[in-house]
Every structure is written in structure tokens, then in C-alpha cells.
């Protein structure tokens, strides 16, 4: 037996209350972990966004098209490597408008050069390059709809009306988190051929590789400068800069979530503070006995803080034990499959796991500060006179 084991044993005194408190802390921590993970997943999206890729779109809005030959012009700018282009196609499975997934028309050859983190088996790649109606789909999307290589898929267009038939030539995965795995990419030539007059030879945006990421800012400016004198001007930004500016737009929501996290932590502290204060009050007489025997105020303070640490740690660990499987296997899988654009990677970060446990302990100690102080000021005689 030692001083620490007494603090642990004290938590067994009122098992029911201890269990309720620990579960309370665990639930609060679980909620905290979930919010932190949403935030982290968002930031991870920005962090993993490529620094070495510049997107160039219509200066006014990305809904407006650029002339296709702009892509050729971008290629001439020093510092630019491979260049590809894309159109938002906006089609859906016939009769299933609610099942959203990103589908984009692109030039397969240059697309695979610019998005070199895409991993596609060599034979599938070859098929796609040669197939006018070919498409490749992300592994997550393929799993969601049960698509296999060789399947024929019909999509119903909205921006480009009509029924469009595609061959699934390949299923891609990604070697980095900078591209999601639930998009549908198909051959731009096929779309252009059947597009209505005003939409012909028009592209949604240009994506160019900058082999030296430190030049991304300069190159972006150079691109926009090139088109400045023309009828249609452009806005260029690295993918990283774009995601970061998107995060800036979301900052109110992020702040709201931070506040909710804080409120959760506050509630947790109240639960803990209440339990600890109740325990201390009930044990006043006992603390008097300990002081009589020769224990010092600092020992009693240590008992109270030790007990708080045990409660906080137990709650934090339980929260982690419940939260990690729930988030990683449950919520996270759902988010990755359904909101992949925002959350390409929705898992509990190690950092957040550690933060949640450390916070549980730190907040428990803060919650215990007042009772711990009171117990150190305890008057021995009065405590001994107090019955029960």
C-alpha cells in the first residue's frame, strides 16, 4: 500500500457514483473526439491538398467555362509541367438524383500525368487511353455501387442533357490523400462530341503541374497575367491555397464547433467537480482522522487530486475505447463514402486521441482544485467533531 493506492481505493467507495462519473466523462470525451475529428479531417483535407498543382478557372466563377485552347497557352508558361483540363459533368444514375457522386470529363493521357498519385493497373490504364467511352472510377465509389471493370454504366446528364453510356475501364486508388477515391473520370472527347453547340470546345478548369512547388505562387500570377488582356480572364491558385481559402469561408462553422467542444469540456468538468466535491464533503471526518494521525494538508490535497486523476484517466480511456472504433469504423467509413470531397480521410488522429486523454486528466485536476484547496484548509478539531 502507498499514498497512490489509497487514492485509487477511494474511487471504489461509491462504485455507482464513480461509474456514472466515468461514463459521463467518457461520453463527453467521445463527443469531443468526434468534433475534433471533424475539424482535423477538414484540416487534413487542406494539408494533403497538392502544393504542386495549380487550378485555373474563370475569373468570375468556376461555373463559367474557359476556351479549351487556354490549356495549350498555359503549357507555354515557364515553370509549368504537365497540363490537363476538366469539366464538371453533373450527371447521375437514371432516376437516382439523390445519390450524388462527382463525375468529370477529362483528357485521360494528361490527366494521369498531372494526377500522378492515381494508381491504376497498366492494362486498365491502356484500355482507358484507347476507349472513347471509357471511364475510371475510384475504389470507394466502385464499392458503393458494386461496379466492376468491364461493366457498362448509363448516366443521365443535366448540364449535358441525354443518356450517356460508359465502359468502366478501370478502378483507381490513390497513393496520397490529395485525391479522393469516389469520383468518376471519363474521356472529354466523348462529351465534347455530343455536347450542344455553345458547350463545344469549352473546359471547366485547367489543372497544371508545377514541378517546383515553391514557384506555385509566381506561376499562378503568370498564368492570370497571360490571360489578363483577353476577353475571358482567369483565377489561378494552388490546390492547397484553394482548400485553405475554402476553410477560411467555413471558419464560422469551425469556430462554432470549437465552441461546442469547449462547452462539452465544461460540462465534463462540472460532472467531475461535483463528484469530487461530494466525496470530499462526505469524508470530512475521515480527513480529520488522517490529519490527527499526522498526515499533512499536502497529503490530503494529493489524495483529492489523485482521485481526480484516476477518474479523469478512466473516463478519458473509456471515451477513447468507445470513440475510436465508433468513429473509425462507423462514422468515419460513412463520411469517407458519402462526403469524400470534404473528408477524404475521416479517422481519429493520434494527436486528438492523446489530447482527449490528457485533457480528461487536466480538466479533472482543475475540477478538483477547489475541493483540494478546501481540504488543505480543513480544521482538524472541527472535522473530528463532525459526525459521519
Amino acid at each position: 500500500m502507498n499514498l497512490a493506492s489509497i487514492a485509487i481505493k477511494n474511487t471504489r467507495r461509491n462504485i455507482f457514483r464513480t461509474v456514472l462519473t466515468v461514463v459521463g466523462v467518457a461520453v463527453a470525451m467521445l463527443a469531443f473526439l468526434l468534433l475534433r475529428t471533424v475539424l482535423s479531417a477538414w484540416l487534413v483535407g487542406a494539408e494533403y491538398a497538392a502544393k504542386d498543382r495549380i487550378a485555373t478557372r474563370h475569373k468570375v466563377t468556376f461555373v463559367m467555362w474557359l476556351p479549351k485552347h487556354y490549356a495549350e497557352d498555359v503549357k507555354q508558361i515557364p515553370g509549368v509541367g504537365a497540363v490537363t483540363y476538366m469539366n464538371w459533368f453533373g450527371a447521375h444514375l437514371p432516376g437516382k438524383e439523390s445519390q450524388f457522386f462527382a463525375n468529370l470529363a477529362t483528357d485521360p493521357k494528361t490527366f494521369l500525368d498531372v494526377y500522378d498519385e492515381i494508381s491504376l493497373p497498366a492494362d486498365q490504364k491502356q484500355n482507358w487511353l484507347e476507349d472513347r467511352r471509357g471511364a475510371i472510377v475510384g475504389a470507394v465509389l466502385a464499392r458503393q455501387f458494386g461496379w466492376k471493370v468491364g461493366d457498362k454504366v448509363t448516366l443521365e446528364g443535366s448540364i449535358y442533357p441525354g443518356m450517356w453510356e460508359f465502359n468502366i475501364d478501370g478502378i483507381y486508388s490513390a497513393t496520397r490523400k490529395s485525391i479522393d477515391q469516389s469520383s468518376f473520370y471519363f474521356n472529354w472527347e466523348y462529351m465534347n462530341e455530343l455536347a450542344p453547340g455553345p458547350a463545344k470546345e469549352k473546359i471547366g478548369w485547367i489543372s497544371s503541374k508545377v514541378p517546383n512547388p515553391s514557384e506555385a505562387g509566381r506561376v499562378s500570377k503568370a498564368i492570370d497575367k497571360l490571360f489578363d488582356p483577353r476577353d475571358i480572364q482567369t483565377l489561378s491558385m494552388s490546390e492547397r491555397a484553394m482548400n485553405t481559402s475554402f476553410l477560411g469561408m467555413m471558419s464560422t462553422l469551425l469556430t462554432a464547433m470549437q465552441i461546442v467542444s469547449l462547452v462539452i469540456l465544461l460540462i465534463m468538468m462540472l460532472i467531475l467537480g461535483n463528484t469530487i466535491a461530494m466525496g470530499v464533503r462526505e469524508r470530512t471526518h475521515e480527513y480529520g482522522v488522517l490529519r490527527a494521525i499526522g498526515f499533512l494538508p499536502k497529503h490530503l490535497t494529493a489524495f483529492v487530486l489523485g482521485e481526480a486523476t484516476v477518474l479523469g484517466l478512466a473516463g478519458g480511456l473509456l471515451g477513447l475505447a468507445l470513440g475510436v472504433p465508433l468513429i473509425n469504423q462507423g462514422v468515419g467509413r460513412f463520411m469517407e463514402e458519402n462526403f469524400t470531397g470534404f473528408f477524404p480521410y475521416f479517422r481519429v488522429a493520434d494527436k486528438d486521441a492523446i489530447i482527449s486523454v490528457v485533457l480528461s486528466i487536466v480538466l479533472a485536476l482543475i475540477a478538483a482544485a477547489v475541493p483540494a484547496y478546501q481540504v488543505s484548509r480543513l480544521n482538524v478539531i472541527n472535522a473530528l467533531r463532525k459526525v459521519g
Partner: protein
Amino acid sequence: MSALIKLEKVGKTYFRGKEPIEVLKDLDLEMPEGAFEALMGPSGSGKSTLLNLIAGLDSVTSGTISVSGVNLGAMSEGQRAHWRSQNVGFIFQTYNLLPVLTAAENVELPLLLAPLSSAERKTRSLTALRAVGLEERGHHRPDQLSGGQQQRVAIARAIVTDPKIIVADEPTGDLDRVSANQILELLVKMNKELKKTIVMVTHDPAAAERASIVRHLDKGQLT
């Protein structure tokens, strides 16, 4: 026998709000080393107050108390706590064992304040439990023991640090006659065999009979 505990003109006044309550007045008292003292007197006469002063739990309002020549009034509260842990064993009316600890752990508790190895603490608490005849009950919790057994554990806890003085505030007050007699036998044994000076507050004339010296307190004065 020389005086182990010496009180000179001791006064103790409590305040209830602004109103002073003079509990002890100009008390002079000497308790010899090795004595078994019984303090008797009506309820509210200041017996517990006097005991707490002797035990170094509380400080006097006036006068001096010295134990083995050491002036308790000159000590800080921290020094008195340390002094208590080495010189005084406590026995209370309601036993006051920690309910979450076993009997053996309760006995070991005061030793946590001494620089002893875990093995040595175990040996000493077992010896103390044996002295009260409860070596078989070391792993029991207080609520698994009778009142008399709990009080014997409390006696083991009081002697485990080998203090000079044992103070007992109505140690038999909550016990039936048979258990009370066992406790009193034990106190006599501690006094005779282990040479402990015992100061016991009691209401019970049968208990006072076991003591070597009986004193009566009334309205803060020895009579």
C-alpha cells in the same frame, strides 16, 4: 516518576461567532510517564478539549503544555503534525477506520509517514495486529468486523508507530460490556507491557477503575 505531560495555567477559549466560550481555565496538571490516566466529567466539561490539547491537535489560548520537555505551543501546525505522527497514538469513540482499506492497511496507514520500506511496514503492522489478537483478520474490511474488533484494529493503528502516548476519547462509548472489557484489557496491557502513557476520556466508572489515576473535570476545572 517524572512528569511526561505538564500543563501550566492552560486556558482554552473557543469563539462561536463573536461570543467567547471559555472551556478551560488556568489548568495546572502533571501526568507522570507510564501512567494510565482517566479523565471523567459531565458532558461539555472540556474533557475532549483537554485531550486534544495534550495530543497536539489544538493549540492553547493561554498557558503552556509541554510533553517530554517539548513545548507544544512553540510548534507550527506542520511541526505538531510531525510530532503527533511520532509521539501520539489515537483511539476514537467511533473507531474511525478508513472503510476502503483492510484492517492490515488501516494499521499500516500511519507508517506511510515514516521512512520505512514496504516490507518493514508490513512486518510492523502484522506485529501490531498480533498484539490485539487480530492477525487472522488482517485482510478484512472494517464493515466485515464487529465494533469491538474494529476498536482493536484502531488500537493496533495507535501503537504501530510505537508512540510514547496513547490518547483515547471514550474508547468504549459505543461498545457492549464484553467488548468494552476486552478493549480495557488491551489498554492495560499496552500500559503495563509496552510502557505506553495512556490518557483516556470516559463516562464509564467501570472503565475508570482500570486506570491508575482518575481525574474529574467540571466546567473547565479539575476537581
